[in-house]
């Protein structure tokens, strides 16, 4: 590892440790009962929105109405986006005269952006007009991220409150998150990115002649604003096809660092917000710590593998497929960061990385996107694992397991395992389906274990609502478009709905005050146990599949063989 890479990682870690905790507390105040006083001064915008939409911000919802509002909102967003994608040829701001998408691609893209996945079976500059990018995709970037945070807030309230049916107001959570968190942060990041040369304009694509005399179309567009929220909101859908490997999306080393920081900022802050909202900040810190350690382990392993130390090719590092302006360290850091945060933006070809690095990236997603995970989604996914951990460990101390004073009984276990199982089922079953069908196999670019990795990665990316692409797989076929779309829906809603049900269930429960007989959830031991649960559940579920994909490929490479 070069010293520049070390410096980048070191300063990123420092920046995160410095900024994430206060950011989390800020987020908690925005979502909590007692917002900052200065918020009240600018609250006229917020109040105006409520009046415009006919929302009573003081109304508390039970889990059913909260879920209803969320589903209605997501459904409407889906249809609206679908319409834009199909009809973009007839809509304004389309200087490149881009046609409407095919139905299977449009439905895939619409689902992808509404579920915060941002899987892109299309290439931005070739298939999406500026109007689509801004009004369609950009808006969903904000909304889907805010929806994730809203669900997280509802769950935190379910844990913090007792003997009530009320878990907050979906509309208020949504509006506040966007107004006070996502919008201001996006503005700052967008301006920083523009200063580095990220484009932000409505110009038509430029025609240029290269030094070799070849004529080339250079795409333009309002990219900076899009990229800011794509990174902040765990979206990851690039403005251009090659995502953050494109020089107009990510021109310099500094822009690269800022984008990685933006990608990790909110996912790292949310555990602190969670601790604050449930009234146990130490527990929040432990959750963050668990995620952080897993992130660092994953990063360390990936850096080691990328350096080429265990391949048969001598000490050659895996440089192919990486942007030379970022180099090995910054590219690997991005790959790990984007897979742990459910972001899905890329700045290098994961397919070209060492097989096991691809495996690690895949495994990060397969674990359920809980090592940080998406904004909001990560922590609520994590809480499902926490419930399982608390249940097994709680039994071992001889009491009915309880989490933050709430007893964990059959209904909680039921909803938690549904939330954990659903994405696993999507990854394994859909991958198996793809392996068994001609439609699945024919999209592969490689026949051996690498091909299996391509399939596994794609469905992991869909089910984990990550959206990053391994590369190599031709995903714009009706088979993949529809199956992936379905996978993304399950990955989003089969987790989100049980979580909301849980929030309602937990809110109704009594709160048991802790005693020395209570299993502590704010100790290092708990962190280690949580880590073990996640790894063992993930490992046991996916180890056989990974063995035939990245693991065997790495072993073959070790023997100097390519299949």
């Amino acid at each position: 590892m070069e010293s520049a890479d070390f410096l980048l990682i070191f300063s990123l870690v420092c920046a995160l440790l410095l900024v994430a905790p206060p950011m989390g507390i800020y987020l908690a105040r925005v979502l909590g009962e007692a917002p900052f006083s200065w918020l009240r001064r600018v609250a006229f915008v917020e109040k105006g929105i409520y009046r415009l939409c006919g929302v009573d911000p003081t109304e508390e919802m039970n889990w059913k109405s909260y879920t209803g509002a969320l589903l209605l909102f997501s459904g409407a967003g889906l249809l609206f986006l679908l319409a834009i994608l199909l009809l973009q040829a007839y809509l304004p701001l389309n200087p490149a005269h881009i046609e409407g998408m095919s139905f299977s691609l449009a439905i895939n893209t619409a689902i992808s952006f509404v579920t915060n996945t941002n899987w892109q079976a299309y290439s931005g500059e070739a298939a999406a007009s500026y109007f689509t990018q801004m009004v369609g995709l950009g808006v969903q970037n904000f909304l889907s991220a805010a929806t994730g945070i809203a669900v997280f807030a509802a769950l935190a309230r379910g844990l913090a409150r007792k003997e009530t049916h009320e878990i907050g107001n979906f509309w208020v959570d949504l509006v506040r998150t966007i107004l006070y968190v996502l919008l201001p942060l996006s503005c700052v990041i967008a301006i920083v990115l523009m200063s580095q040369g990220v484009v932000q304009n409505f110009l038509a694509y430029l025609d240029a002649t290269t030094l070799e005399g070849v004529s080339q179309k250079i795409p333009m567009g309002p990219a900076a604003s899009q990229i800011a929220i794509k990174q902040l909101g765990s979206n990851g859908g690039g403005f251009f096809g090659v995502n953050s490997a494109h020089p107009f999306e990510n021109p310099t080393g500094l822009s690269n660092a800022v984008e990685i920081f933006a990608m990790l900022l909110l996912p790292c802050a949310v555990p602190f917000a969670f601790g604050s909202l449930v009234g146990d900040r130490k527990h929040g810190r432990i959750l963050f710590g668990t995620m952080f350690v897993m992130f660092l382990c994953s990063l360390g392993a990936a850096l080691y593998l990328e350096s080429g130390s265990i391949s048969s090719l001598g000490q050659l590092p895996f440089i192919e497929g990486k942007e030379s302006r970022f180099g090995l360290g910054a590219s690997t850091l991005w790959t790990v960061a984007t897979t742990v945060t459910s972001n899905g933006s890329v700045n290098s070809m994961i397919s070209s990385a060492s097989p096991l690095t691809g495996g690690i990236a895949m495994f990060n997603i397969m674990l359920g996107e809980v090592i940080f995970g998406g904004v909001g989604c990560g922590i609520y996914g994590m809480v499902l694992f926490v419930l399982l951990t608390v249940f097994i460990a709680g039994l071992m101390v001889g009491r009915t397991p309880e989490y933050l004073g709430k007893k964990i009984e059959a209904p909680e276990i039921k909803w938690a395992v549904i939330g954990v199982l659903a994405p696993c089922a999507v990854i394994l079953l859909f991958s198996a389906l793809a392996c068994m069908t001609q439609a699945g196999i024919s999209s592969l670019s490689s026949a051996g274990p690498h091909g299996l990795s391509e399939i596994l990665y794609a469905f992991s990316s869909a089910a984990g609502n990550n959206g990053s692409a391994f590369g190599g797989l031709n995903a714009n076929t009706p088979f993949y478009n529809l199956l992936m779309g379905f996978g993304m829906l399950i990955g989003r809603f089969a987790v989100l709905l049980p979580v909301l049900r849980l929030a309602g269930q937990l809110a109704c429960k009594k709160h048991t005050p802790p005693s020395s007989g209570t299993f502590p959830t704010d100790s290092l031991l708990f962190g280690a146990l949580l880590c073990a649960t996640i790894l063992i559940v993930g490992g046991l579920t996916f180890f056989p599949a990974l063995t035939l994909g990245p693991i065997v490929e790495q072993l073959l490479l070790g023997q100097g063989r390519f299949v």
Binding site: M396, A410, I413, V417, T512, F543, A545, L548
Partner: protein, 686 residues
Amino acid sequence: MKSSISPSLDGAILRRACWAAVQKLDPRVQEKNPVMGCVFLGAVLCTGIVTVDFSFFTLQITLWLWFTVLFANFAEAVAEGKGKAQTDALKKMRTDTLAKKLVDNVPVEISAKDLHAGDHVVCLAGDLIPGDGEIVDGIASVDESAITGESAPVIREAGGDRSAVTGGTKVLSDRIVIRITVEPGNTFLDRMVQMVEGASRKPTPNEVALNLLLISLTLIFVLSVGSLKAFVAYTETASHITTHAASLPVLIALFVCLIPTTISGLLSAIGISGINRLTQKNVMAMSGKAVEASGDIDVLLLDKTGTITLGNREAVAFLPVAGVSMEQLAQVAQLASLTDTTPEGRSVVVLAKEKFNYRAQDLDMQTAVFVPFSAETRLSGLDIQEGDVTRRLRKGATDSLRKFVLAYGGNFPEEAQRLSLQVAEQGGTPLAVADGIQVLGIISLKDTVKGGIKERFAQLRKMGIRTVMITGDNPLTAASIAAEAGVDDFIAEATPETKLARIRYEQAKGHLVGMIGDGTNDAPALAQADVGVAMNTGTQAAREAGNMIDLDSNPTKLIEIVETGKQLLMTRGALTTFSIANDVAKYFAILPAMFAGFYAVADATGPLAALNVMGLHSPQSAILSAVIFNALIIVFLIPLALRGVAYRPLGASVILRNNLLIYGVGGIISPFVGIKLLDCMAGLFF
């Protein structure tokens, strides 16, 4: 029955359990446990395969799958068998007895089976009591050894807190009339038999939750192993190598090894043996739910008298006011207490006798008129005619005596008031003594705290349980005894309402409350508490309100009950952790065996042979070893399931750390060792 209630695992039980294990192969039994049901299905499938396409390897897998099911059945059967042995003695008592039912006050002999709640029966010396009920008339000594194992007869009498009788016990003397309160078939004895046998065992809430978790783990492996078939097919095409390693029997073997068979096979045995262990401690739990809940108790309500203190208050000192000698006070106190037959009154007489060798007989009783103690006046005493003057000697509660003195025109001296307060502050009960209108002094009564009780409470505190003492004493006395005994809190001047209110208050704050009681006035509180333990000596009302009955009537038993409840949950958690941790090794045994052929060049093994970290002999022996280990581990863990994981009253963090080390880390390591050993043995045959 004490001896017969804790049978060791003798040959008869094991022989019966073996047969029962085979009987439990009935699919209707198997479907009740979905995880083991999956193993059952796998075994059936493999049997089918082996008959169609015979191979020695498949046959062995099939046999071991059947053994896995049988071992799990066996574990359950052993636990049930132990229970059955306990109940055999009880069942003998249920044999039909004749009851003398009172019809218009004339005894009519009918079968005990035909008795109904509300009937009155008469029992004479030598009769077996035909059913559970309450004595409405008479007093008798009853031999309850059949239930409690205690050979000394107990006194049962109408009214008061000792009126309940149990069907199957024997009247030794006198005549009593009993009102039957429980329908036949639902008596204490019947319920005992049902509970211990596990016949009426419903899954407890925690068991339901755990089962859900185990089923979902099983589902994960259905997905994982099911999809593997497709990935293997893909890899066979890609590597142009068809290994047959992922044949259906191998996949079934992998699946069975991965699903949590260890805990699922032992789950019901753990539950049944939990109740059995309580029975061994002479506690009858009315439901498994109650046993489980007892592990969760974090507030414990204990009656002071008999639990924390030895029982009755006794006079310990005479405190005269200035100008009165102690002898004088003692003499008057003794005289005034002669008619007081309460234990307190008697202790005053005894103390005076011990200190000054006074005897009541010394007094000329001709002129004396006794004023007996009454609950209304709360005074007792003696009026002595001395000429025209009536000398009124009185002893009683300070308040009452003050009223008495004031009523006759005297005044209650400041000093006596001070002494009385002082006694109360030190945890005693003050009684004042007066000769006419002159107050002589104070008698200090004290309750003695049981030895070792403080350590017990400290232990409870370590377990995270707060103790609350209930007493009828005044707040000062109560506070002093509470401090001496080391309880965390107390309720003074308790009434049934305050007890109930306290339980509700604690429950509203989210606590789980355990309560021990014996009297009828405890019944509402026992019913309200999450775990209500009724003393067997108590009233029928109390026994019906509680969800456990302590046959020894020993109030400190609750600590053991809590421990058993905790053990029950800990055993489940530990074996679940063990079961899941085992899977790591099984992967490293089976997957390399299945995949070693892929991408192989010429005759060399493929790259995935590198995963064979245990260096297992051959693919077949590796798979077999894993399956055999998976089956045998159930048998090995049966004793642990029956005995329960050891519980020591340490903090939750320490317990967790210890159990994680043993069952988590141990669970990861032990199968590596076990499978390697089995493989070495199997290697001799392959």
